[in-house]
Symmetry: C2
Subunit: 337 residues, 2 copies
DNA sequence: TTGTATGCGTTATCAA
DNA sequence: TTGATAACGCATACAA
């Protein structure tokens, strides 16, 4: 155990606790002799300042909490999360900050928020009515919301609507008339549909209505390959069969593509598929996945920079949505007639 | 700010701090009336117990540190990390534990260890001479080492050697005579070659020597696709050209495969490639990647369970290495003659 | 059932 | 240059 405390060192070295503290934090403010003696004793006793006590006294822990709406198992099944963390990490590293992953505690994200010893929070995909927001406000800590609605405070988003619209227009222009949409399910049971899903849906619909298409088949799948594969069944049974699918995540799109090919369907000839995210692996599937690129790493980096600004006491305004763009690969083509 | 403290609530409610504390932590030990009043006042004032102060007093923070040998940007570029976290997360969720990602602070993992307010550590890929081990020992916290050498304490490993040997034997049996090995570079600058790399190398060599093959071409690449692609150049210039490659990571293998195909090489006809890990995406490349499967999620889960056991004061012995197995896919075949 | 007093291990203010 | 001592905010023996 970390039993040896600053008092032990002070007593053994025959100095006050202040002197020991200075020896570690302000070496210059101590005489050469006493400093050396203190450090010597500390070394011998194997003393290490207690991080928690230090944090309480300094009123900062050096950690930022990443609020994760679901279980780690689920969320880290989507490479999106890794990409985001890469962005966060690049900014945090420059400020000696460390990242605390905070998933719901026994199903409650509010409880998790209250437990977390951090200097600030970055939330992910919260809706405006999420009870975690109330808990966050109570904590009174700098907070940045990613993929959320314009709640009070700093929000970082991408142009979900524009990206979705471009994706839908792409299929329309290829000649597809009967489409299916794979939406994202609500991330947290109590809350309704995600802000991100709402915006993308609006984008899809704008393009479809503009082209006078019939109502698309509405499906739902979380951002995992199994969920995407699962959706294939509904697609298989649908009459008339959609010739194109717009998915709100690359993972679901890839899972679906896999299931379709396993069932003997030709992609894209019999089924065109468009994803969302442009994860690195989207370029690696066979065929490559046509998808909407969003700058995930940049989004993470931006969110991290904002929370750091807040930490430094600066005022922060929510930046405009980051741009999205359609990346056309092999998974889309004109429908076979 | 979280300005309102337990004392404020106590004063406003006209009770002692103890009563307030009880109202939150031991509601039963308080009279109905006072409890309600305290909670009422707490609500009105927007009181939330300070997690840090609480942790200091309870002597536990509810967080476990994951010691990451390199930057988050680098480590999360490898899906291996996501898989591991999925395993850790499934165990931690059951114990209301939260995960702190601890990369080196200004290049020093030791400093990062000293700063981390956690109840225990899980380390990743540390060598026996890593200075972080000393810092860890000083902290006196429960610690489990993953992918390490049998240092003192609990260690979780997989059968690296057996897996590597199976991979090499596979190529030998296909008729390859001239091979290249892509090893993992040392994760931390000061330390030598990783324990994992050493064990896998031993496995490769055992199979090659058993077959009387000449010395393989030795290359090195971190577990990223760009690093793997980079390695292709050396391969391209080598004379005689290797017909098969054994990589210590799927990511490097896939990066290499990509570069080779971009250069017009046929995989596997002109170059057979074997990876290591069996990441989900290994099944998604074209052709599929032959690789050594290791149970990453289980490894994470096991490490988490061990550190939880230590936390609970139980004695723990290092489990035997988890099994590995060769998964043959399309990226290997007999060499073209 | 409720309150007093002390401990948790630091840092920091203010004197000396 | 060094040392008492008071925060930091909460939990908890022990007492009432």
């Amino acid at each position: 155990m970390s039993r040896v405390t600053i008092a032990d060192v002070a007593r053994t070295a025959g100095v006050s606790k202040t002197a020991v503290s200075f020896a570690f934090n302000y070496p210059d403010r101590l005489g050469q002799a006493t400093r050396d003696r203190v450090l010597q004793v500390a070394e011998e006793l194997g003393y290490t300042p207690h991080p928690l006590a230090r944090a309480l006294s300094l009123r900062r822990s050096g950690a930022i909490g990443l609020l994760i709406p679901q279980s780690l198992s689920l969320v880290f099944g989507n490479p999106f999360t890794s990409e985001l963390i890469q962005g966060l990490g690049s900014a945090f590293a420059e400020h000696d900050l460390v990242l605390l992953l905070v998933p719901p505690l026994a199903g409650s994200l509010e409880d998790a928020v209250r437990q977390a010893s951090v200097d600030g929070f970055i939330s992910l995909g919260l809706t405006a009515d999420d009870p975690a927001l109330e808990a966050l406000a109570r904590m009174g800590l700098p907070t940045v919301h990613v993929d959320s609605e314009p709640v009070t405070g700093a929000v970082v988003n991408v142009d979900d609507r524009g990206g979705a619209e471009a994706a839908a227009r792409h299929l329309v222009e290829l000649g597809h008339r009967r489409l299916a949409l794979i939406t994202l399910p609500p991330a947290r049971s109590r809350s309704g549909v995600t802000a991100v899903a709402t915006r993308r849906l609006a984008g899809y619909h704008a393009a479809l209505e503009g082209a006078g298409l019939e109502e698309p088949l509405m499906l739902s799948a979380s951002a995992t390959m199994p969920a995407g594969a699962e959706v294939f069944r509904s697609l298989y049974e649908a009459r008339p069969r959609p010739t194109g699918v717009l998915a709100m995540s690359d993972m679901a799109a890839i899972g679906l593509m896999s299931a379709a090919r396993d069932a003997g369907w030709q992609v894209p000839q019999e089924l065109s598929i468009v994803g969302f995210d442009d994860l690195p692996m989207a370029a690696w599937t066979a065929p490559g996945l046509t998808t909407v690129r969003q700058p995930i790493v940049e989004k993470g980096r931006l969110a991290a920079e904002l929370v750091i600004h807040l930490l430094e006491g600066r005022r922060v305004v929510s930046p405009p949505p980051l741009p999205t763009s359609l990346i056309v690969r092999g998974s889309t083509s004109a429908p076979r007639r």
